[in-house]
Amino acid sequence: MKSLELWAAIFMIVFASSGGDVLLSSAMKRIGDLNELRAGRGTLAVVGRVFSEKRFLLALCCFSVGFFSLLTALSWGELSLVAPASASMTFVASAIMAKIFLKEDVDHRRWIAAVLVCVGVALLK
């Protein structure tokens, strides 16, 4: 399989997964600590609360696209390239989106981690 098609599938995974990550994080922040919620109201209430959150359902749609892109990429390339490359770039994209959309405090420690991950991904090619 051509390298270009493999990398197109990997970028599709990154785009869908990072969008899903941001939506999911936003949903979970609105819901609150699941451990505390489960201790107070039980597991069924937690499941009901999570599935009633629209952002969570949108995140699931994004992850579905990412999942089928992952299956396609895995049928074309090696696991030790596809999994770390897609996951690492998802991490960098998600950190940028977390800063922009979720207003998270992405401090120097997190940015240094992002740079190291980028170099690591370059070496994986």
Binding site: M28, S94, A95, V106, R109, V117, V119
Partner: protein, 143 residues
């Protein structure tokens, strides 16, 4: 951070990497997906390796949801990056893939970078006004 929270992060790492390895095993058995008929990939859901892989990824997802409920996204993703090392180990020893020294170096750099972040705070403290609004919203939801 307490032991329970570290165990949740460990579950994210383990289930994610084991699930990826099982999916790869299943897709190897299934064969390459034709680029002209990409929807044929749905038939791979009948493969047992893919099904077990999906079960692991569901466990990964539950752990991931729990972690995101008390920590920032930009903390959880790097904090669970040791999973990359596990994936490479599975690729090398379980699937017998060729992992070059440069790829090992890449994995090492990723691990160092993301391990670094776990020493910082796991959540962004909200501004006082945001905290008040959020508390009011939660009270409203409870009522």
């Amino acid at each position: 951070m307490n032991l329970k929270k570290y165990l949740v992060l460990l579950a994210v790492m383990c289930f994610g990497s084991i699930g990826d390895a099982l999916l790869k095993r299943g897709m190897d058995a299934f064969g390459p997906v034709d680029v002209r008929h990409p929807w044929h990939v749905i038939a791979a859901l009948g493969n047992p390796w893919v099904l077990v892989g999906i079960s692991c990824l569901m466990a990964f997802f539950a752990s991931y949801l729990t972690a995101l409920s008390w920590a920032d996204l930009s903390y959880v993703l790097p904090a669970t990056a040791l999973g990359y090392v596990l994936v490479t180990l599975f690729g090398r020893y379980f699937l017998h893939e060729n992992v070059t020294p440069l790829r090992w170096l890449g994995v090492l750099l990723i691990s160092c970078g993301v391990g670094w972040v776990t020493r910082g705070p796991e959540v962004t403290k909200p501004e006082p006004r945001e905290a008040r609004l959020r508390a009011r919203e939660e009270q409203h939801e409870i009522a």
